[in-house]
Symmetry: C2
Subunit: 437 residues, 2 copies
């Protein structure tokens, strides 16, 4: 954790350091990922099974790749009843928040016979990638599936790498079932992304792929973008706490560490107008480090990407926060709502000293899949918006088109698109001829 006086220069240096974590800088794996994708596209299931054997050390076949109802029942028996209850409580909140994101088709019309509108349709098939490995995040399963379900996507296909026993982690399966996954397949890595993008005999092609993953998964998603849609490319987690002298250093330090524990590339930043708070937060961090189980990860993350920035005043602090555009932002200041109004760039904004970031990871309802690595300048949280698309609707009556047909013809001719002009002209050629002197 470095303490730095905030200036334009220091902000620029910090931004450069943070951007080192971007998946855009991992070009060296691109060729390997391209190979895997090409192989899956060409050989389908055969390639999938062979990569699963190579990378996950598990034999899957066309008969075992799809998770069965019996396996799901087994998972329910293995999961702690009280965790299941918490998952269900969280689901109520997550669904309720995402239901407010639903968008309606709309139209406007005139009596002269014009109707313009926008028709909202859910995507037909969505693929949700869930990482495997030691860390198991049922909350992430909920956050990726619920918005698709609320959007009305009829086919939600999940893929996740099997463990060495050939099984999927029970809490992952239970979360998937509770959230509403329709089909679950035991395959991970770039090969899973290839299967979802191109389809194989066992796994259906989807229209969009979402969900977090390692660098191979991220690069594979980027490579298939355009052929299918993807969510934004996720980087390591981030928190930025904007605090003044009214903040409780005990809480601020705990919140910074809650993101630093994610992985060594995670970033925790405090921007404050109070030198005293800065010092106290540092002390508190040292205290927590002695007791927290993920100490090694936290220490590396703080060393590489942790900052305490001292700002001259709150406006300067907010400007820097807008430049950094953090995934998570906590505002722990006087008049925190007023400060929020000045924040342009942040994935999620947590206001006040009891809105600790983990509240949003699990429970409050907003999605925890958020733009990282400065992309909050142009990307948003995963939402129902990601699982719908809109078709423009245009209806003009004969009289409505007649009124403006000469304007369209002139515009088309100015662009030398004579067949465009012709398609309007033919509809009025008889009467336009009569009009001519």
């Amino acid at each position: 954790m470095r303490t730095v006086r905030l200036t334009k220069e220091s902000t620029k240096d910090i931004l450069e350091n943070l951007l080192k974590r971007s998946p855009n800088n991992y070009g060296k794996f691109e060729a390997a990922v391209a190979d895997i994708l090409a192989n899956v596209k060409e050989k389908g299931d055969e390639a999938l099974f062979s990569y699963t054997k190579e990378f996950d050390k598990v034999e899957v076949t066309a008969d075992t790749i799809r998770v069965t109802e019996a396996e799901i029942q087994e998972a329910y028996e293995a999961v702690d009843a009280s965790l299941l209850e918490v998952i269900r409580k969280a689901l109520v909140n997550i669904r309720s928040y995402h239901e407010k994101q639903r968008q309606n088709s709309w139209f406007t019309s005139t009596e002269n016979g014009t109707m313009l509108g926008q028709k909202v349709t859910p995507l037909n098939r969505v693929g949700v990638y869930v990482p495997g490995g030691k860390a198991v995040y049922p909350s992430s399963v909920l956050m990726n599936i619920v918005p698709a379900k609320v959007a009305g996507v009829p086919h939600i296909v999940m893929t996740t790498p099997p463990g060495k026993d050939g099984k999927v982690n029970p809490s992952t399966l239970v979360a998937a079932k509770e959230a509403g996954a329709d089909e679950i397949y035991k395959v991970g890595g770039a090969q899973a992304i290839g299967a979802l993008a191109y389809g194989t005999a066992s796994i259906p092609k989807v229209d969009k792929i979402v969900g977090p993953g390692n660098i191979f998964v991220a690069l594979a998603k980027k490579a298939v973008y355009g052929h299918v849609s993807i969510d934004s490319i996720a980087g390591p987690s981030e928190i930025l706490v904007l605090a003044d002298e009214t903040a409780n250093p005990h809480y601020v330090a705990a919140d910074l560490l809650s993101q630093a524990e994610h992985d060594e590339m995670a970033s925790a930043i405090l921007i404050t107008t109070s030198t005293e708070l800065a010092q106290n937060v540092e002390k508190e961090i040292d205290g927590y480090l002695k007791v927290l189980s993920r100490r090694e990860i936290i220490e590396k993350s703080l060393e590489n990407f942790g900052y305490i920035l001292i700002a001259e005043d709150m406006d300067e602090a907010i400007d820097a926060a807008n430049e950094i555009a953090s995934e998570h932002m906590e505002i722990v200041t006087k008049n925190a709502f007023e400060v929020m109004m000045k924040v342009r760039n942040a994935g999620a904004i947590f206001i006040g000293e009891y809105s600790s970031e983990p509240l949003g990871d699990y429970f409050a309802g907003p999605n925890h899949v958020l733009p990282t690595n400065g992309t909050a300048k142009f990307f948003s949280a995963l939402s129902v918006d990601d699982f719908i698309k809109k078709s423009s609707i245009v209806y003009y009556s004969r009289s409505a088109l007649k009124e403006i047909h000469k304007d369209i013809i002139q515009f088309a001719i100015s662009e030398q698109l004579t067949a465009h002009a012709n398609s309007i002209a033919v509809r009025f050629e008889d009467e336009d001829k009569k009009e001519e002197p």
Copy 2:
């Protein structure tokens, strides 16, 4: 133009043929584009000027790269007054349609002190790419700039390659000024995309790049995706006319040709339940070909990617149309509105025999930047949505957090994220300790 009996097999073959036009299949130019981008990122203006000399045969400098107010005034003098009037009329419609796409920030709250919401913020800087060359499309300038302007983007930066005289086409400049571009630069190709993505001394970095371009521009946009945002990757234009025996073959043929004239990769498809209509449309096309100025392009486009598909009934026709997911779709049938309700996948839907596709290109108001190449299954028309982003808002009072804090702690611990659990626990540690027996 091939006439084919519609079957699952023939639909599949047609889809495969159409997908050949995808920019995903132009990997051979990727290395050249990567070179240009790397050069612009490293050398900035110097690289820009040198590429502009190489590709556009024009010397630009830091003093001349930005279009001046005097050049814009000159453009106004060069443009036909009646075209300017048409541009202004079209702008009224385009603005009015896009204003209906505006989205509001929202929140919900409870008396226990929870507030959840979504804050909508426009992007700060947007880059609009406008192609140069012989074909000049002021309509495209309007369609790319207006939604950004309506969204409230404060800085709209346009780039377009200069002609050999070092100037930008006057109608392009006039359209840009009318639509509300803030800065205009004379640079094109992959180098312009690099400048917008990374920034140079002359050209500011933007948050998102939109606008059509050749294969170099498309690949460059794909390459910088993630570092900045981009619009969907545009392929060649497409029209699909869904018609029954009530359709006028004279109009249908004219509409098919209006898209075929765009370029040799464009696709025009008629799906009809009427063999008679199919035959008459073919005859009409032959008639038009004799008189249309872009005959050569049209003939090649029809030969490569033109189809007349005969369907058994309207449901089969609609299913195939949903599979093809065309950029533009015209419905010229009995009960056209009912047919529209069954259409899931199309960029824009034109209903009835007077809603000819060019009406949407220029005048009606909906955006003419639409998803191509089957991507209407998951992408939408360019819209105000492309120029905003959303931040989640979370506020919980002490008592609201207290009520659920143990659930969050349990969820976090089940994911082995102890620092997450800690950040909630520290807020209630004193009273939780008291509660213990």
